[in-house]
């Protein structure tokens, strides 16, 4: 087991910074999730850690050893690929045995380890099949097995669940979580599904455009997003963002209304570079009123989506769509005028210019 440290890692393709100055530390035994939208550099980062791509700058160390110039095979890592990358012409058994054969282990030991891994993953009955004769979930287990047999210091996983259907995904999610728990391995797990990251990881690293935006526990990322990108990326439905203007101790809308701010929030707003502010609020912190209420701002209902446990209302406020969760019993119609009350304690204020979260200093 080992820790993984990235220092100012850069990868360029021509003029494109696929990974731009990323620094992060994965502690020994930690499970971290690398999340971000498509094309943000997650796979590239993972491939750099694996040594499959040469770096353009920076250092990577695994277990206190700088590995910049080491071959993938010498880095003591295992990787699960997005499309599994099982060797199509080898049986499951041979797939699992391949990493061990490459390390010149004696035959009996290989057999023992393969059988152990197969038992652990419940694929013993599949050992004689070829990958194309397996279902998606089974292939996924084999890919996991091929990573497990070797007992590596670090596991790298690139969207290992993205090819599975929703139900299987939930099931494999908990299985991977359990393996991590049992093996206590260091895991870097790439996903574009923030829910996966939140549910599985000890820490999550949010990337966008090659840059690391925030690296913290899921709870902290959820509670204190550093900028509007993270705010809108984490959480489902996403945090609603309303562009407004700071005037004294209130936020003013061009539509005419004003939202008074608490002292703390007013101090935050005063720190913005211009008076343009983005107000952020999660659906569960908002209250909906059917009549004008002091401190609440007016809006118009756009759609109402009952999901069973909760009903989501989408309300137009100052041109922005705001998600609000309601009791399933709530009676509300599209095009109705409503008033929305914000929770001063749990609202977020961002600088519209820099997109960064505002702090009260």
């Amino acid at each position: 087991m080992a820790e993984v440290v990235l220092q100012n890692v850069i990868k360029t393709y021509g003029n494109l910074y696929a990974v731009n100055d990323v620094s992060l530390t994965v502690n020994d035994g930690e499970f971290i999730a690398l999340v971000g939208p498509s094309g943000c550099g997650k796979t590239t980062t993972l491939n750099l850690i694996a040594g499959l791509l040469p770096m353009s700058g920076g250092d990577i160390s695994i277990g206190n050893r700088i590995v910049n110039d080491l071959d993938p095979k010498d880095r003591d890592i295992a990787m699960v690929f997005q499309n599994y990358a099982l060797y199509p012409n080898k049986t499951v058994y041979k797939n699992l045995a391949f990493p061990l054969q490459m390390r010149k282990l004696p035959k009996e030991e290989i057999d023992r380890k393969v059988q152990d891994a197969a038992r652990l993953l419940d694929i013993t009955h599949l050992l004689d099949r070829k990958p194309r004769e397996l279902s998606g979930g089974q292939q996924q287990r084999v890919a996991l097995g091929r990573a497990l047999v070797r007992d590596p210091a670090v596991f790298l996983m690139d969207e290992p669940l993205s090819n599975l259907d929703a139900k299987l995904r939930v099931q494999m999610r908990s299985e991977i979580k359990r393996f991590h728990h049992n093996l206590n391995a260091t895991v870097v797990y790439v996903t574009h599904d923030q829910l996966e990251a939140v549910t599985m990881a000890d820490k999550m690293a949010v990337m966008s455009g090659g840059l690391l935006q925030q690296y913290d526990t899921p709870a902290n990322v959820f509670a204190n997003p550093v900028n509007t990108f993270v705010a809108s990326f984490v959480g489902s439905p996403a945090m609603s963002l309303i562009p407004l203007e700071a005037v004294g101790n209130a936020l003013r809308s061009p539509e005419g209304w004003e939202l008074p701010l608490s002292q703390l929030n007013a101090r935050k707003a005063a720190n913005s570079t211009t008076n343009k502010i983005v107000l952020g609020a999660r659906h569960s912190t908002l209250k909906l009123h059917k009549a004008a209420t002091p401190g609440a701002v007016p809006g118009k209902v756009y759609t109402v989506e009952p999901t069973g446990d909760v009903t989501f209302a989408q309300v137009f406020i100052n041109g922005a769509v705001v998600n609000i969760s309601l009791e399933p019993t709530a009676r509300i119609e599209p095009d109705e005028m409503v008033w929305v009350e914000f929770d001063q304690e749990r609202m977020h204020l961002f600088d519209a210019e820099t997109t960064m979260a505002l702090k009260a200093i």
């Binding site: 499959l52 990787m79 990358a85 060797y87 490459m102 390390r103 091929r146 070797r150």
Partner: protein, 294 residues
Amino acid sequence: MTDTTATRIRPVVKKPVDWWRWAGRVFLTFLLLFTVLPMAWMILTSVKSQFAAMQYPPQWWPAEPTLNNYFKLLDPTQRIGQDFLRYFWNSFYVSLLTTILGVVVAVPAAYAFSRFRFPGRNFMFFAVLVRNMFPAVVFLMPLFLLMRWMGLVNTHGSLILTYLTFGLPLSIWLLKGFYDNIPIQLEQAARIDGATRLQAFLLIVMPLSTPGIIATSIFSFIGAWNEYVYAYTFLSRDDQMTLPVGIQRFFTEFATDWPGLMAATFLMSVPVVVMFLVLQKYFVRALTEGAVKH
């Protein structure tokens, strides 16, 4: 389907004659005759005696079929047989060596063209492809000089070297297509599993490209087996000649022995036709690969 039962509600429409289908059948019959009849006549002639072949009107069916022409060609105790068998062996040897060398040279090149981005890659790739555009004859004179300078005239080396370059462009193109279709993740997985780049290639990629290698091999082999122009120009010694050229010697020396020539032609075609029939799938794939992208 044509009988109507009272219970059937749908009115029965008499299916119209599908003229297109019939036109297709007639056309195919015509093509089949066009293709097969010349070959049939070759075989029929080859089992006639010299006398029976030279008649007008011709014997449509051999009156006294004989395998004498074949016995003569395959009899190692006679001069004709010795020559024919030597040509046969020469052709086989040259074709086989061309094929093996072709694979050895084409595989790494195709792999590099598929996987690496090195400066000049596109230029080299097109240069290799454009080679296909030039007729053998254009290269004949300078190559003849070159072979003379290298001392390769009247050796099989000169043929193998030139045949190699016929086959290479197509082989590289074909194999590149195969490598393009092998996900790069497989190699990455192998390298993480502890393989070096070379091991990843040999143990994972090569086995997956076997169909491509078979396909290109058939092509090189058939191409070399059938080649005529270079063999005709580079070889003048009897014992070096390959079949297409050697057969011509038969023709000029035994000018009027048509049945013998037909038998020789038949024997010469047997290996490639058998090879084609056995490995048809790969052959057709090699032919169409690249032209048909899905």
